[in-house]
């Protein structure tokens, strides 16, 4: 949205040309300037610049919805609001399961079972909707190389023996879990940015990142000056992209 070119914000051609002489081509550049600077750059009067500002803002601003419309939309398809974890007490506490459309974080001391939980959620996501799953693919970004495909099959076979009665079904399930091994912060960020197209093409219904902390702690030593800022920069950027993906596609992350 920020990178939207001014041309598409319905500004006149000659105004766009004039602004590009000052290297102002996107809405972001335009809105970051103060009113006086805009007057100097566009050569227009104060009131006209205010009107231009409104026009450009309208091109970037989000759409309004009332809380009531949101509620109606949610109640229109209630079943897709949560991914049940099949642990009944956990589901009760979480009000239905892992929520779709938002980020969920799982933390614990080492060895408690985070990776096992993630593997189980991957199996659950591939199940058909009638069994409480999301009937879709899973993207698993693994930074600790802790994912074991054999364990995946073991969980699937023992948990749902009636469903995974044939090898065929097991292979089908494993084919829909896409594993990416990333070992550095940069590659994790690059992978997160590239996820949008993959989600659409592979019909992904669950994204798991296991784990964010390990790769961040390896690379950023907080005792060194400046690293804290870089680290929080990386984390917030990743978080905002993941939030956007979760909301846009209504999938749990």
């Amino acid at each position: 949205m920020a990178a939207k070119k001014l041309r598409r914000a319905q500004l006149s051609q000659e105004l766009c040309e004039r602004l590009s002489r000052y290297q102002i081509t996107t809405c972001q550049d335009f809105l970051c300037l103060s009113l006086l600077e805009l007057m100097k750059v566009t050569g227009r009067s104060y009131y006209e610049v205010q009107k231009l500002l409104c026009k450009v803002s309208r091109a970037c601003a989000p759409k309004m919805q009332t809380a009531y419309e949101m509620k109606l939309r949610k109640s229109a398809n209630p079943s897709s609001a949560f991914l049940s974890t099949t642990l009944h007490s956990l589901d009760r506490v979480l009000h239905g399961g892992v929520p779709c459309g938002s980020l969920t974080e799982i933390t614990s001391p080492p060895g408690c079972g985070k990776t096992q939980f993630c593997i189980m959620m991957s199996v659950l996501a591939t199940l058909p909707v009638s069994m409480g799953g999301l009937d879709g693919a899973v993207i698993y970004v693994d930074t600790e190389s802790a994912f074991s495909a054999e364990r995946l099959i073991e969980i699937a076979g023992n948990r749902f023996p009636t469903y995974f009665d044939s090898d065929e079904k097991l292979f089908c399930m494993t084919r829909s879990i896409h594993l990416y091994r990333e070992l550095t912060c940069c590659s994790v960020l690059k992978r997160i940015m590239s996820l949008e197209e993959e989600i659409i093409s592979k019909k992904v219904k669950l994204i798991i990142i296991d784990s964010v902390a390990s790769v961040v702690r390896k690379e950023f030593d907080t005792k060194l000056q400046g690293n804290l800022a870089e680290r929080s920069n990386f984390l917030t950027r990743g978080a905002s992209v993941l939030k956007y993906l979760a909301e846009e596609f209504s999938i749990p992350v």
């Binding site: 920020a2 809405c27 601003a61 009332t66 949101m70 509620k71 949610k74």
Partner: protein, 367 residues
Amino acid sequence: MQREVGALPLAPALRARLAAAGFQTAQELLDTGPCGLSKEIGISKEEALEALQVVRQECHGDAARAAGGSGATRKCTALELLEEEQTQGFIITFCSALDNILGGGVQLTKITEICGAPGVGKTQLCMQLAVDVQIPECFGGVAGEAVFIDTEGSFMVDRVVDIAAACVQHCHLIAEAQQEEDHQKALETFSLESVLSHIYYFRCRDYIELLAQVYLLPEFLSEHSKVRLVVIDGIAFPFRHDFEDLSLRTRLLNGLAQQLIIIANDHKSAVVLTNQMTTRIGQSQSTLVPALGESWGHAATVRLILHWDSSQRLATLYKSPSQKESTIAYHITSHGFRDVQPPAVTPDAGGAEGNPRKRPRREEEKQ
């Protein structure tokens, strides 16, 4: 009328030409007329007419101000301000201890900032306020609508439904206890659907969308004149990443603060912002301070810091022009923001004015 040409809000090129032609005051321009102006400076007649209209508008505004009318600069005595402040409403939070330290609740025409660590209840308080602003006047509310600008995506509609349902039920109980006619009439329009449809929600993904939305807010507020609360949930989040140039960030934040102050004053609404906490590494220890730096600290009039103390949530009034600094404890229940212990009440719901802060004991028994 003696306004200098250089101070008029015209295009810079035009101003340069006028100065080169020797015009010094606005009066000279008005005396010349559009045709004369266009001939002297070499601009078209339409442009000259436009410029003169701008000048006339400015001078008219100046004259009105000089005559003591209601121009852009407000001049009034402290007595008038006192009367205004006394009749001004507050937005209650349903937690009487918090309302007490705030001096009655969240004040209109002021910017209130709520800072806190993640998970302490900032978004819950914002959602509670978005519902509470709609309480009808006969129950002690301001009967307004709410604009909710969300940058973090933590707005959960189901939770707002819970909070709104509890609030509506509370008002129903008060009306039953008091049996006054205007209560019944107000209750007809105060239902769950109406509460939800008067919360206007905007989801801004980055700081450009946030800036654009704030530029468009005055227009939106003049269309929806009943809005009394603007909540920006998460003002720190979009500004904390992707900013190599910190001076640009400070400038944008200051511009944002200015616009919000103008919006708060012009439309008589409260502006509530939530901020994150960041760690400041000192000599020997590190402390949690509100994010976005020292200069942002000047933007808000009232600052509330929410924090934990073992397992109890506390709220500290950190900065306020009229109340003293104090800390209270609060609770977040399934109904929303509440006191830690409900205050002891008599069966007839706290006196004739129907104070909605006191929850009648009957309500607890029904639960």
